[in-house]
Every structure is written in structure tokens, then in C-alpha cells.
């Protein structure tokens, strides 16, 4: 049981670092990296629960593989958008992106 708590704590710390990065970093690349960090925190949770959970099974670990795949796809799309924006704006500074308002 103790092991589960430390894994979860580690995952929470990772998640918070990721969240902090998403909210505060100005460089869009770093923001993307931070999102990956948050996703990996979730993966860590899944793996931890599949090993030390109430009903341990392999399903959690397989799901974390899925998540990684999806995360890779998401990163690809994200970087593609970033490249497009960079071509338009010549900047990767998140502060300058307010397209959602228009």
C-alpha cells in the first residue's frame, strides 16, 4: 500500500509541474513538453494502479501504451500547428496568440 502512495505522490508532483509549465511558460514548445509531462503523470498513475490497485491487472499497463500512442499523435498535431503559427507570426510566444478571441 505504501508503494502506491509514493507512486501517486510522484505522479501528482509531475502533474503539477506540468500544469505549472502549461500555465506559466511563454514558449509554445515548452508548453507542449509540459503537456507531455502531465500525460506521463497520468500514465504513471495507470501503471501504479495496475500493479498495486484493489484489483491488479494488466489492463492499466496496456492503457498506458495506448496513451503514449495518442500522446505521440497529439504531439505531432501540436507541433504541426506550432509550425503553421510560426510561419504566420514568426513567433512561438504563447502570449501573442489570441486567435480564440477573434
Amino acid at each position: 500500500m505504501n508503494m502506491l502512495a509514493s507512486y501517486l505522490t510522484l505522479a501528482a508532483v509531475l502533474f503539477c509541474i506540468g500544469l505549472y509549465g502549461v500555465i506559466t511558460k511563454r514558449n509554445a514548445i515548452i508548453v507542449l513538453l509540459s503537456i507531455e509531462l502531465m500525460l506521463n503523470a497520468v500514465n504513471l498513475n495507470l501503471v501504479a494502479f495496475s500493479k498495486y490497485g484493489v484489483h491488479p491487472s494488466l489492463t492499466g499497463q496496456i492503457f498506458s501504451l495506448f496513451t503514449m500512442t495518442v500522446a505521440a499523435a497529439e504531439a505531432a498535431v501540436g507541433v504541426a500547428i506550432l509550425v503553421a503559427i510560426y510561419r504566420n507570426r514568426a513567433s512561438v510566444n504563447v502570449d501573442e496568440f489570441d486567435e480564440l478571441r477573434r
Partner: protein, 621 residues
Amino acid sequence: MTVFAEYAWLVPVFPVAAFAVLIAMGRGAGRPGAWIGTLATLLSLILSLCIAGERISGKAEDYSAHYHWLQVGNISLSAGYEVTNLTSLMLVIVTLVSFLVNLYSQGYMRDDDRMPTFFAYMGLFTGSMLGLVLADNLLTMYIFWELVGVCSFLLVGFWFHKPEAKAAAKKAFIVTRIGDLGLLIAILLLFWYMPNHALDFSTLHNVFATQSGVIATGITTWIALLIFLGAVGKSGQFPLHVWLPDAMEGPTPISALIHAATMVAAGVFLVARTFDIFQASPAAMHTVAIIGAFTAIFAATIGLAQNDIKRILAYSTISQLGYMMLALGVGSMPAAMFHLFTHAFFKALLFLGAGSIIHGVHTQDIREMGGLGRKMKTTAWTFGIGALALSGIPPFAGFWSKDAILTAALDKQPILFVVGAVAAFFTALYMARLFFLVFTGNPRNDSHAHESPAVMTIPLVVLAVLAVVAGFVQTPFNGWFAEWLTGDKAVEHGSGLVMVVSAAIGLLGVYLGWLIYAKGAIRRDVVSSRMPGLVKLLENKYYIDELYHLLFVKPLYALGKVLNAFDDYVVDGVVRLAGQSATGLGRLNARLQSGQVQAYTLTALIGLVILALAIAGRRFW
């Protein structure tokens, strides 16, 4: 036997139709359009004469017809008309005076560019008065009663570019409103207490005249007094008389119409129509008599000290209406209606004559007139007849009707007779003053006075003839009028003493006026030099207006200001606060909508934290 009475409903319809046509045509109707109004009143007059004729000649039954108007629950309201001797008499008075005034206005208002509007209003005024006269129940009457009030507002304020006219119109409307409220409450009380909620006059007669005790005496007194309050407002009795002199700001033909046929006659007519209620309550009768007698002498004394020709006549109207109320109060309804009948003619004559004078010299101040008798011959002799009739000099109409009232007063209350007689003396005196200052002596200004056109003098002549002969329908030797009006055999009680006294008083007043203002045998300032305070008091109309201003207008104005401030700061403040908070909230939200992903994320995070705290907090609640 009732051929024409069935068509009585047409009498008010003609003038009202003329009103509708003239209003629809607007200013384009022009001067020929105004004849539509005159023609309509002529038609009404002819029909009224036919109705009255058949009632005088034969023993015509009272005719009434009504239709079902409203059904509320199990209470039904009807509207209808009724032709009795009393109403047919009023129909003739109203239509005759109205027609003559209409004719006269064709000359008087010729240069006014709103002439069609004037005739339209006059049509509505006449029509509503006729409706009031014909109404067979109190509710219908009340509707027309209010319409008359509206028309007087429109016509008194006809020259609304003058601030005085505007103020006078408002005053007339608001002051009569006070009385109208009384009448409305009286109608509601009657509605509440009458069996089957009946409001028609024949049922009222049955309930009250038979002393059946259906309605308690206390309630009867209240109802009568409240009805009388309505009459006080409309007929300009003390203490609600203040609007009538100010109403002189309207065009002069309107003053004639208001003072002779419509409006002020409505109050007396109302009391006469509901006379059974008054007779059932001695207290109410006393009040009517006392208010009437007081108003008669009160207004007559004010009339002595005024200098505006129309205001003198206005106060004389108030005083004469006081006589009518006095007659009603001492229980002699025929005497009151008789005086209303004769007064309508000579007062219309006097006002139209005054209009003719004003038309000629363009001033209303009698001190600036003088010597007009030579320049305006027709006006002068017709005005003279009117003045003699008003002063109660035999054999003119006013003598007989005033005599009837004084006789009735002497029978009932000798003190009221004395008051009436003194008021009659003052009446003769101020009319003599008015006549001699205006028509004799030397001209006191250099205006080129001229006689008015024939369209204005013909009505004067007609009214002058009526002012001479109208009195002979009822003399102490011939009680035909009272008999016809009430249906009872008149008790012959002509008092020679009253006749002699009232004629002597009238002659004395005129003689004194002649001595002072024509011959100069008595100095004019004989009173003002000895009692300047008294003259000042009279000139300022006993400071009644000032008193009302201090007692009612100012406190109400202050209250209005307080309420206005409350409205501005509290009510409007709440509204403004609501608006501004919505705007502020919107502005705040607009700032949140920055379009930056990170800001949105932060917001979502904060929301999540709040949610989590709320859920966690609930556990420890």
C-alpha cells in the same frame, strides 16, 4: 303622445357628430367648416324645442329608454336616456344658449386660425352637457359629467400659448376634480346600498321620496353631501369657487357657454335631479342652503371691487349660483330651476356683450373703458337689459326668479332671506358700477371702438328679448312653471312684501351706483378712503387663492419634491444600480475573454480548485 321624445337621443348626437367631423377634417376645415358646428347645434335646438313643445302642450308621459351595457357577475349596468319636464327644460336652455354662442363665435373667433378646432370642442362640450341632462342613471350622467370637465379644460386653455390660460385650465380641471371625487364616492355608496344596485333616477325617486327607510338616514346624509360636493365643484360654490374667475382666460364665448348653459349649470341640475335624496336628509338641505346663501353674498362682495369686466361677471355667476343652491336648500326646486332658466339667458347676454366690448376696445379693464354707449349702441342697450335683469329690476326676468327664491327663503329661514336680499343689493350695485363705467362718461382711452358685426349682435338681441320675457312663465300671480316642472298644483303664496322689498333693493342698488359712477354725486373713494383694508380685502378676493396656495398647494408641492427626490435617488438609483452592475459584470467577463489559452487554463484550474474545496468542505459541514 311622445313622438319626439323617442328621438331625444339625437339631441346630443348632432353636436358630437359635428365634433367628430371637424376633428377629422382638422385645420383644413377652415371658416366654412365651422358652420358645421353651428348647424349641428341648430338641429339640436329644433329637436329640443319640439320635445319641450309636446311636453308643454299635452300631458306627455315621461319617456325613457335604455339598453343593456355591461354585465359584471350578476350586476348589470345600463345606459339610457330619460325625457321629463325637467330634462326637456334643460335641453332647451342648453341648446338655445349653445346655438346663440355658436353663432356669435362665428364673428368673435373669425381671425383665429384654430377656428374649426374651437367649434369642434364647443360641439363636444354641448353634446356632453346634453348627454348629462338626458342620462337616466347616475353612472351615465357621471361619464358625461367628466366629459364636460374635459371640454372645459380644453376650451379654457384654448389659447394655450398664454401661460395664464394654461394655468387656468389646469386649475379648473383640478379644482372640479375634487368635487368629482365626492360625486364618484356618492355613486359608489348608492351602488352599495341601493336595492339591486339600481342607479337610475326613477328607482332613486322611489326609494328616497317614499321615505321607505331602505337606506339609513346617516348614509343618506353622507350620500347627499357627497353629491353636493360634486355640485360645489362644478357650480363654483364656496369653497371650490376659485377656478371659475380664473376660467375667464378662455375665449369670451366660452365663458358665456360655461356660465350660462353648460358646466356650472350641471351642478345645480345634479342637485335638482337627485333632489329626493336631499329631501330625505334635513342636515344636507341645511348645508346646501347655508353654502348657497354664503356663496351668494361672498361672491357679490368680491364683485364690487374687481376691475376686469369678465371677472365681475364671473363673480356674479358664482353669486347667482349661490342663489340657486339656496333655493334648493330651502326646498324649492322649481325656484332654483327657474333662476337657472332666466340666469342662462341674461348671463349669456352679459358675457356675449362683454365679448363684444372686448372685441371693440381690446381691453378688459373697466377703468380704461367709458363712453362706449355712443359707439356701440346695440351692445349697450342689450347689455343694459342684461344688467337690469341680473340686478332684479322688475319686470325683467331676473326679478321674478330672484323673487321666487327670496320668497321660498323667507318661508323657511328668515335669516337666509336677509342674506339673499343683501346680496341682491350688492348685485345691483356692482352691475350699476360696471354699466355706468363702461357705457357712460368720457372715453378713458383713445381706442377706436366700433360696433361688432351683425352675426355677433343678433344673438345679443335675441337674448335681450329672452331676458325680458323669460320671467313671465312664473310670477307670484302665475305658478305655471313650477306646476309644470313638478307636476304638483303650485301653492299660490306670492308675497307682496317680498316683491316690494326685492324691487326696492334692486332699485336702490342701481340708484346708488348711478349716483357714484355716473352722476358723481358721491365720491368714488368714499369707502376706500375710510376703510382701505376692506377694499384691499375685496380686491384680493378675501385672499382665498393665497390661503389655498399656502394650505394646499405649497405642502403638496413640497411633498411632491420629496417624492421626486425619492424617485430620483432611490427608485431610479436601484434601476441604475441594476443596469450598472450588469454592465460591470459584462466588462469583467469581457476582460476574461482574452483569447489566451493559458488564461483559460488558469481559470479552469481555479474553478476546479473551488469545486474540489466545495466538495471537500461539504463533508465537514
